[in-house]
Amino acid sequence: MESLRLLFGGFEVALTPANLTATFVGVVVGQVIGALPGIGPSLGMVLLLPISFGLEPVTGIVMLAGIMYGAMYGGTVTSVLINVPGESSSVMTAIEGQHLARQGRAGAALGIAAVGSFLAGTVSIAALMFAAVAISDFALEFSAPEYCLLAAIGVSATASLGLGSTVKALGVAVFGLMLASIGVDPILGSSRLTFGVEGLLDGIDFLPVAIGVFGIGEVLATLESATDITPLKVRLRDMWPRWSDWKACRMAIARGGGIGFGLGLLPGVGPTAATFLAYAAERRFSRHPERFGRGALDAVASAESANNSAVTGALVPMLTLGIPGSGLTAVLLAALTLHGIRPGPLLMAEQPDLVWGLIASMFVGNVILLILNLPLAPAFASLLRVPYAYLAPAILLLSLIGAYATTRDLFVVGLAIVFGALGYFMIKADLPRAPLVLALVLAPIMESSLRQSLILSQGSARIFIERPISAVLIVVFVLSLVWPLATAWRRGGRAAGPPMSPID
């Protein structure tokens, strides 16, 4: 009941004109970004991150969060109509959607995806409410040793549980940790790894790295292969699912939503992996598994429900523990930190308007997206006719201006370009980018908590074992490193796994 009372308070915050406008802008930008192939939601968030600094914290955060879940809806449009996933978590939708489109059922696919995303998204937001309260209460027991290990798990799990090569992902995470060491030592104040460059004394900030690897790098990689595309035409009356479609898909929506939310809670899994697992699970439960891969509407329902609810699930550790589990939540965490707000167990007590306003805005945002997607999907589809080549220079220019606007420092602009080149190389070399930004965000927490713990224990590492919660977390940390590496070794010593999606 207390949660419901707080939620009503959240709606009072979310429904102010400024926050309602921010939610609308965020979900529309997210929908557009999700629909446009070659532009991932992380790019949209980093583009709007500098803009969010000019807004109130709640307003900025609801806008950025809107991009996150809005992009999941938008990815369906391009997946079905041109058989190109708008973003990486729509890959399974593209596989099924292309067959459905050829059968003249593109509208049904878009419609059931929108309904499934709405239902799963709404239920997962309700689950977020209760899970966040429970975990926050539990996390009040945490101290420096627990925070150190949580940050370490956040880095290691994201690197080892995500898609692609474990060794590559861990290598990227380690590189991110080394980058985070540049600057001034947080406890003694001495300079470290600055090589006499004055601009490095403040360390490598999150913003130019995120703009570079997620923004500039992605655009450079997409420019290399961009071609003009012609989407299928969809009629408005074809958008509404039939009653038989709804009956066939309702359990798929429930299963996909549950699997997505549960997996989204785990750092490193993310909506893409949740989509694959939900698809595989749905195939096992389906009475007609032979239809999968040939245009199964319940497969689309399951995949789209999973990706929406996974995004919501990923917010739980970020809000309650201050540990982002994906690149997207890392950007959100960075936005909160740059507004002077520290996510963690005390966030719900100290910033109830922010937390409950965000949760309420997600309910509102999902309603907006359902309204936009059911009748207006053909209108969004028309956006696909805009050649990517016209969008690319605009995105690059806005990225650089965003980097300049927050600091007025050309050095930061230069850093964004350098990391843009690095981001392009990472995409070409199949190196995941999320572990880099996560390591950059979590390294300061990890190092200062580690040193505080050892100061408290007068140099004894036993503090990590004597505390029961941190002892469990040590086991989890070791497992998160050892298990994926051992699995890869058993598979024949292959250090390389399946290729990453370029937008992940």
């Binding site: 000019g54 470290r192 450079l220 290399e224 961009a226 016209y390 690059l396 650089l400 070399a429």
Partner: protein, 151 residues
Amino acid sequence: MNRLDISAAVGLLVVSAVVLIATWPLVYWSDFAPGPAFLPRWIALAGLLLGATLLLSAVRRPSTISPRAAGGPPHRARPLLTLLALVALAALFPVLGLRVAGAAFVLFVLLVVVRRRLMPSLAAAATTMLIVYVVFVRWLGIDIPSSLLGF
């Protein structure tokens, strides 16, 4: 062997070695707490280990030919030209101002890099600069650098 994987592995090895060497003079342990060199050294050692593993794996794996993407061969010059244009933009906008340098950048990419037609490119450049002005100057009140001529 995969050249990109080898480059990534060598890059990680070099960066790890640099971090290890650069943090060597720093304090590793001070009284009863780690010093500034503690974590970077361990991270660098992990980087050396992972880099060596990746290098070994890349050298032993046979190189694969990537399937040709639907839509034709890749435009390999585009990323490099665009990157050079970005560097030029960053260098020139304190001199030319963001409006002129930004518009020139957009037109360069559209006309030279991706070879679009003139009129749509001019329209795209004008639209982009309008968005920059409305969002950054009018809405957020950010002072965009002007050129030496004052605009």
